[in-house]
């Protein structure tokens, strides 16, 4: 009898397949798109255009400790050391086109959605220019109001329709609205299961070791619109559910003493190192801002809902929303602490962090620290500094425990 695969095995296989399929598609002369991580991939999936995700690819290069050579190449071309390191890695990959970590084919189309930052507009403009390929831009305006205004929804929806027309022009194929409906349904479903699974970490102890979120994230980005992606998150959910029912914690060889949230992106070149430091002190990172970032849910065939969903991710929201979001997380996950990553790459996430930290602390009493790092530039992180910060956090969390915990309890 065939052994049922674990979600972890499946995750590895799906990722391999994701990259292999893209290379295969390219070899067969089919169009490949490079897409940002929270873009309406539904359109590409419907058109049968294979998408690869430079952010994920750059993260993979970083995690396999290959980022520096790419970064050097970009800086040699005149890219400033101060710009997002994903961009520096990817713009070099565009030239070098070879990395042991994973390979992706060059794009025939650029698919860019600036709901994550305006940096991607500039980065993707450069790819389109250098490779002379068409670019489709989705521009969900930054939401300086708490809710997403109807004016914004109207504009985004019109851009989705415009993109469909452009995709038809570029590929010379008709857009299949039945297939679109199907993909919309799967995509929302996948998002629901992703969030449902990650919410199981609310249990005490958490059945999830949150660093796994960083791994599973690859699939919620790359395969959200596919049945395989959906199945993976259901399976992952069931595994976690079972652990939760048995009261199993995150580690076989250690006990969850503190529960924290990680704000921002991982430090990919130091993923293992940062994980070990936390584990050493019994700190489980139970969640981050990721579960909500890919909670892109709307009703089937509801373009307004889809437009709204693609503008709802927290980096595109105002500070009051971002604060409330984290306050909610502190309560739902019963956090002892928050680790804020002041990420040299990501100004949009960084330049609100200080105020968010103050507001969250004032409202919940949760302990927190900020450390300096970078998602893929290995030079912008110091493990010693990181550990010092974590020690400080442990002291704060301990003191608070002695005093009877955070305000929310």
């Amino acid at each position: 009898m065939e052994h049922q695969k674990t979600s972890k095995q499946l995750l590895g296989e799906l990722l391999d397949k994701h990259y292999a399929d893209a290379l295969h598609a390219k070899a067969e002369g089919k169009p490949v798109a490079w897409s940002t991580s929270i873009a309406p991939q539904e359109l590409l999936e419907t058109m049968g255009i294979h998408a690869v995700y430079p952010e994920n690819h750059a993260a993979a290069i970083g995690a396999r400790k290959h980022a520096q050579e790419f970064i050097n190449h970009s800086e040699g071309k005149g890219y400033s050391v101060d710009i997002c390191s994903y961009a520096r890695v990817n713009l070099a990959y565009m030239d070098i086109q070879q990395c042991e970590a994973a390979n992706i084919p060059l794009p025939d189309l650029i698919f860019c959605c600036n709901n994550i930052c305006n940096t991607v507009i500039k980065w993707y403009e450069n790819i389109a220019k250098e490779l002379n390929v068409p670019m489709i831009l989705f521009d969900p305006p930054f939401n300086h109001e708490y809710e997403i205004s109807d004016q914004n929804v109207k504009y985004i929806k019109a851009q989705i329709l415009h993109a469909i027309t452009r995709l038809e022009e570029i590929t010379g194929q008709k857009f299949d609205y039945d297939r679109f409906r199907e993909v919309m349904k799967i995509s929302s479903e996948t998002s629901r299961w992703w969030k449902k699974a990650s919410l199981l970490a609310c249990a005490k102890p958490s059945p999830l070791n949150g660093f796994e979120l960083f791994n599973y994230m690859a699939i919620i980005v790359c395969m959200r619109g596919t049945k395989e992606g959906l199945e993976l998150f259901k399976l992952w959910h069931d595994e976690l559910q079972e652990k939760k029912e048995k009261g199993v914690g995150p580690w076989k060889d250690g006990e969850e003493k503190y529960r924290v949230m990680w704000d921002g992106i991982a430090c990919w070149p130091y993923l293992g190192d940062t994980y070990k430091v936390l584990k050493k002190y019994g700190i489980n990172m139970v969640t981050s801002t990721y579960p909500d970032s890919w909670y892109i849910v709307y009703d089937e065939n509801d373009l307004d809902g889809m437009a709204r969903a693609y503008s709802s991710n927290y980096v595109n929201r105002n500070l009051a929303f971002g604060t409330d979001n984290i306050i909610g997380i502190v309560k739902d996950f019963q956090l002892d602490g928050i680790i804020y990553h002041s990420n040299r790459s990501c100004k949009l996430m960084d330049f609100r962090q200080f105020e968010v930290q103050r507001k969250v602390e004032a409202s919940t009493g949760v302990s927190s620290v900020i450390f300096d790092g970078d998602q893929t530039d290995p030079r912008a992180f110091s493990l010693a500094q990181f550990e010092t910060r974590i020690q400080a956090l442990v002291e704060m969390m301990e003191a608070k425990k002695r005093m009877g915990g955070a305000f929310y309890e």
Binding site: Y79, N118, F351, F354
Partner: protein, 377 residues
């Protein structure tokens, strides 16, 4: 002193003293003033509301108050703006319009709501898909929203006719500035790099009508004077966000350079595109934004900025391009490698200088500008 020289010093003086100039303008006109963050704001609407639009492009202030909100790797312009806001130096403004062209600006909107609530913040987003109908519609809606805010603040309804008139005035201002900027090559001594910069800068702190009239007058006076001898000068095009600290401009002059044209966000990008004559005032404003290209802050699928610089080099018979890179300004930083590559391809010499608005020593830049100048000789 000739009439031209006295106009030049009057305008340059106004550019050098932002706050004094604004207060003076408010006094003379009896108008309130509204702060305008970089890069573009709907100044025409502010003017139509009978208020003064004034530029907020950083300054020399350094301090530690802004550290409460911003990490060290934030651009110096926004650090200075925040510092000044926290010091209460903007409290005379009736409102401030903050636009979201870059990730830093998005955060500014949010921090300022908390840091300086007294400033009546009006956040605004310019669409990046500004050429398609949906983008144009969105921008019109944004203009209408801002208009309403301005009406609330000024207590005065803005009529369509007033907007039309204001757009006409801005057209006139923009044409005048183009003419003025083109004159510099003929009067390199009277309009040294820094003087040119200060005259352009004064536009941010004066009533636009009065400012435009003065510059018109200056153009007329200059036309009466013989051209100055420009022989042996190196003709430079500046590109980037802003050429500050303006000490770098003096260094250029000392090294025989004259700024014949610019592609600075703070400079010619404000006036190089004129509104087309179609539809109502708002429509003309929308179409103007749709037409403007070659700017790091407006999505440009074809990325035409380098090609535009190459054309400018032809038009002005320039010798070189100097890219003034504001440190930590990522939209500009992303454009540079493409510009570099294309300028190299066209055989146009270029120099890249990284600046911070409040840098205390220019010695390193002096050496680099000097050797660049020698290379051009």
């Amino acid at each position: 002193m000739s009439k031209a020289m006295s106009l030049i010093s009057e305008l340059a003086y106004a550019g050098q003293r932002p706050k004094d100039s604004i207060l003076k303008a408010m006094n003379e006109t009896g108008k309130k003033s509204v702060g305008c963050f970089p890069i573009y704001t709907p100044e025409e609407l502010i003017y139509a509301a009978e208020m003064l639009p004034v530029g907020m492009w950083g300054g020399q202030t350094v301090g530690t108050l802004a550290d409460r909100y911003l990490q060290g790797f934030c651009c110096s312009i926004m650090k200075a703006n925040t510092e000044q806001a926290l010091l209460g130096q903007y409290d005379f403004l009736s409102a401030v319009i903050v636009t979201a062209y870059c990730d830093t600006l998005k955060c500014m909107i949010e921090n300022w709501k908390i840091a300086s609530p007294q400033l009546n913040l009006i956040p605004m987003v310019y669409p990046q898909n500004r050429k398609i109908p949906a983008g144009k519609e969105y921008l019109r809606d944004e203009f209408l929203r801002v208009k309403k805010e301005l009406e609330r603040i000024s207590g005065k309804k803005i009529t369509d006719q007033e907007i039309q008139k204001s757009v006409d005035l801005y057209d006139e201002y923009r044409r005048t500035m183009q003419e003025f900027s083109d004159l510099v090559k003929d009067y390199p001594d009277m309009l040294k790099a820094k003087t040119r910069h200060l005259i352009l800068k004064a536009s941010y702190f004066m009533d636009k009508r009065i400012y435009t009239e003065k510059v018109r007058e200056l153009i007329l006076e200059l036309s009466k004077l013989p051209r100055e001898n420009a022989f042996g000068r190196k003709k430079i095009i500046l590109s980037g966000l802003i050429a500050e600290p303006d000490g770098i401009l003096d260094i250029m002059t000392e090294n025989g350079m004259v700024v014949v044209a610019d592609d600075l966000a703070h400079g010619a990008r404000q006036f190089r595109t004129i509104a087309p004559d179609t539809g109502d005032g708002l429509n003309r404003m929308v179409e103007r934004v749709a037409m403007q290209d070659g700017c790091a802050f407006l999505y440009d699928e074809k990325k035409t900025r380098a090609a535009m610089l190459i054309q400018m080099k032809e038009k002005y018979q320039a010798d070189a391009v100097i890219v003034c890179q504001m440190k930590f300004c990522d939209p500009e930083e992303f454009d540079y490698p493409i510009i570099k590559k294309e300028l190299e391809g066209a055989g146009i010499p270029s120099l890249y200088i990284e600046i911070e608005q409040q840098m205390d020593s220019l010695e390193q830049l002096r050496t680099r500008i000097q050797s660049f100048s020698e290379m051009l000789a």
